[in-house]
Amino acid sequence: MTIEDWLKAACEDAERRGLPELKPLLESLARSMAALRDADRLIDRGHGNP
């Protein structure tokens, strides 16, 4: 699942559950998710699988 698709679905679900205040946190988590996926990709490429 792409981060964009995940964020859209997560925000819609939060809205549906009556938790709109979760949106900025989910956006922040999306940025963290992008950094995590970058690290996973770059570290593996540079140093091989752990």
Binding site: M1, A10, D13, L29, S32, M33, R37, I43, P50
Partner: protein, 455 residues
Amino acid sequence: MTLTLPSIEQVAGQVQSRAISPVDLVRGCLARIESRLELNAFITVMADSAVNAAEAAEREIAAGRYRGPLHGIPVSVKDLIDVAGTPTTSGSAVAPRLPAEDAPIVTRLRDAGAIIIGKTNLHEFAFGTTSEESAFGPVHHPKDPSRSPGGSSGGAAAALIEGMCFGSVGTDTGGSIRIPSALCGSVGLKPTYGELPCSGIVPLSTTLDHVGPMARNVADVALLFDAMSGQTQSLDVAGQHPKYIFGVPEPYFCDRLHPAVRAALNRTRLALVAAGHHVRNVAIEHAARTPEVYLHIVLPEASWYHAPLLSSDPDRYSPGVRLRLEMGRYVLAEDYVRALHLREVLRRAVDAALQGCDALLLPAQPIPAPELGATTVEVDGSREPVRAAMLRLTQLFNITGHPVIAIPAGATDDGWPVGVQLVGHVGTTSRLLHIAANVERYSTGGDGSVGGGTG
């Protein structure tokens, strides 16, 4: 006025010789608790049971059955940890646990003769760094009630520097023992992961959670650690002056620091070199990846435990804690696995940085105690979220499981304590305590006394 409070080491001999009664120690601590109730350091004060236990200890010692240096010593326990017959509130309005048995860590302390004086306040469910989101009110820093003592074991650190107990048991999932220790000027140990049992303790994140001792100096922390781990060795460093090799991981850990924190680290470093130790620069590869790895482990693990209560009783949580727990329900399994994969990379990177060193030396917190209610803080000219700043230097070692101790290292110009951390090799916590006892001589100016007490 700064008050140098007695250490466990200082009073233990007097308890043994019966120059001091455990009853007097307990009554003294209870009086200190009573005198500063506005700090909200305690959730439950166990006055009657503590006095009863002190009377029993006094009888036992008089009968020649002295158990050791913790016998008759008042100790507090973070209210995330089960103590038989008292509610485990976790600092929350969510229905508490009502344990019939002590957590094993508490049993071991009682077996060593320690007296449990009460349960300390905390950031709700240990899911925060300031101790301000608690159903029992925020914990206030003893030096200034408008500031946070740090968290999540904030009540424990406040109680220690106010003389409300001689030792305390905290928990540390991202820095919750070391953060308040640094901000209050006390000592806190996060042992190697898995070294002390976390059963009987409300989990936050089962693969990041640690339990550990807090006290007013390293020797006292070592006494508590020995009892908590079922060991009997003592930390006798008198006359021992081994030469150690320290590695300072400057990239990432020294990038953004309050000037007083940077000065304290440099001062400690210079003092160690002057004393004949070797200090060199090292780097922990990929350390900058720590926040995203941490977040993708702590969030889903915390949500796992809280899922039933989030569904049945969501409004009983503090709004901020509830939202962080809800956030964890959206983390994808593939990203959790990515974080676990990167955890191994980081573990090897810390091991590599430690190679050829006895310990790593780094700041414990980038800032002194923040204002209660602040959401951002200025660090070295740029603003960042308070929570991110407070976790930045501590959370890596929860990910990797290395033992870490936070010790005082002076104060800002206006008297706010700052500290340093020492990181040891996995599985060598006792050796780390020996190293820390030596470093403490230089970081605190010699006596290891705490800097935050008032009285």
